[in-house]
Amino acid sequence: MIKFFTHIKFWLPFVIIAVLVLVLELVLRKGWWDSMIEPRSYLGNAVYRVQALREFGLEKIDWITVGDSRTDWGIEHNEIFEVQHNNGITHLRMSFESSNFLAIQETIDWSMAHMPNLKGILIGIAEENLAHLNDVTKQFNVAWPFRDYMDEEHYTYYIGKKTRLKWIFQNAVVVYFKDLRNFIKDHSNRLKSIRNYRKKKYKNIFMFNRNVPTNVCALSLDSLQQCTKQAAILKEKTIRLNGAERFVKLVCGSDYSKYRAKNTIGMPFIDPQIQKANQKNWHYLFEKILDKGLELHVVVLPEHHLFDYAVKPKGADSLMNDLIKQFSPRDHFTVLDLRDELKKTNKECHYFSDPLHYNNKGKKLITRRIIERLAPDRKKQQNKSQTPKVDKITRLTFELEL
């Protein structure tokens, strides 16, 4: 029997597979598969963005917006682009859904290295970004083209089990695996999707605007007790849940939330290890941007109050305050604190499509606040130019497509 396990018959298939994997790793790292990636996936989102940026001309870019899905879906990037363009600035979207610190930092470092005329960075962050160090395995998909800018010497990306297996998730074969498999399973849909995406790619890539008309007012989310009850009701539902319902079910339906609701236990304090790592990470990143002579504009995004009782550990607010306070005296550093922006309206639920993301109304409000800060004299400029808004956007889009 041992003879068989040492025989060519047994190990040859595995050797061939290993060689194939190695070849595939090289092919993928060379980017030979990049034109076939599903555009709507995390990987496709990043790869197509970089392709578009290169075609557009990296040297033309003055400002970028970075952040996670709150920023990516929650800002009208076309509005920002238009306003900045009126000021003679080319401001493009470099935010990615599902990104956490790793992807944000890699994107910023890549942009600083590849955009020679970069003058400023707008970062959208929320308190929650400072309170957790989430699973980073997905981040290699989210920010794959920027992977070379991972800097473990200065940043702490992982705390916990996944650290040991990180080398697996950094391989191209692993990152591209799902994409390749889905292509094999359904190549006709993929080709259709790529064709469709190419037709309108710049509008999609730079003028991204997600239409989310729904709100969360139908859900009872005033307290953790209400939220857990709501989650229990949603658990019983047999029809497909919408995004907001799925979020509530996931967060408030967990055993931990139920336990806390039952025993009226508040959120715990941030893990000191995570707190230390996050302080160090964000501090070093801000420092690096400012040292480069770039302008740094931090937008502190509002969160649904569900985050206070069910997601965000205690102390996240003071962590954010400390960070802002530390950098406030610095030149080229500005903060737009929108944390209370929605709470003070008393109609918070009208501004969220789910407790994490803003809907059209929320997006409009946040974009307006950012624009007021970026271009306070916008109205004056608009009156001067007398150009209808629609024409301007069309013209800008046309310019971009050139």
Binding site: M1, K3, F4, F5, K9, L12, P13, F14, I17, D186
Partner: protein, 466 residues
Amino acid sequence: MLFNSFQFFIFLIIVLIVSAVLRRYSKRAEIWFLIVASAFFYGQWNWTYLLLIYVTIVTDYYLALKCFSSNNPRHFLNISLLVNLGILGFFKYANFLMSSSQEVLQLMGHSYELQMFDVLLPVGISFYTFQSLSYTIDVYRGNLTPRQKLRDYALFVSFFPQLVAGPIVRASEFFEQLDKKRNFSFVMAQSGVFLIFLGLVKKVVFADNLALFVDPVFDHPQGVSSVRTLLAVYAFAFQIYFDFSGYTDIAIGVAKLLGFTFPKNFNHPYISLSIQDFWRRWHMTLSRWLRDYLYISLGGNRKGAIMTMRNLFLTMFLGGLWHGASWNFALWGLLHGIYLAIERFIDHYQWLKWNLDNTIIRLIKWFLIFNLVCFAWIFFRAQDFSQSSTIILNILQWQGDWSIKDVPSLIILCMPLLHFCTAKINLSGRSGTMPTTEYVFWQLLFILGLIVLTPEKAASFMYFQF
């Protein structure tokens, strides 16, 4: 612990290495180790129910010894039947019997609410109970000398490759191999590894992907077009075949690596040209068990045509119920009983037989048998009678979109052809003697298939529930 899990892969490697080392020094130590490993394997699902297996083992071990030495062996056989069927009956059929009685009472106008038992069905209980029962019956019939060592018997019943979903091995087959020097040849190892991969491909690549087509139709059949419903029924026929035969292939493969040869459980059932032939090819070890210990015990075909038909009905009805405590399974079994009885009837009256033997007649026969089997599968898969009647009505109404353009539908239509081709190639039969190039080709194909076509959600084996 599922055969298609990483956990099992690690478990198997450890078991193979440790048993190989122990075997060199002491056979007894190896047997004890395999018993412990089997207990660990089963305990991963539920440690408490492990006790149940040992109750069965200890009871049947002592009863078989008593049965052999006693002047009144029938007495001990009856106790064995009572204990085994009692445990099986309680855990599997008690709630079913009570809910059925309640429904009957309600029909008669009595509204009496019976309290159901809050028990979990022990995984593989039907399999190990039948295997253990066969031992005491064989001893009673004088076909087998009882084992003197409890450990041998404990391994026979609890041996992990066949513990939860068969194949149902006969005691004589198992002990013969345990007593002789077991075969650890190159051919056994090659065949074992090949069958494990073949089984994984059948389960993960074919069965789990077919489930993605079948489940939505059977879960919500209302409004589904006739063609899609029919395709879902055909797809289920292949899903259950790939699922169960995949499990069996892995079980046989693992057993081969440990030096045991298990009986074949499937032989391309969907190429059958008669229902009798189907049962000679489908779950062969269960068919054999039902024939030897139930059908023959009932009198078989020795007491005239009417009694033969009664025995067939009864055997298949109980065979159906063996699969699950539901009238759906009973009906599935009964349908097969009816099919077999009709076949007997046709066989009896020679003039009814189609004696023409050409390709077209064979094709018609195949088509008829395949569709009859698929029709019965509707009851097997459906949750209840209303769901099965919706499925049947969907097909009969012949409505909705007729087009078959999507790739899964085309693949399902090609399944019978694939089945014929694999029957011709006979991969599992030749697995030990395949030349290097062919062996490497298939293994490569299997591994690539597993990497690329594994669905995101791993499903458990369907026959675990029985």
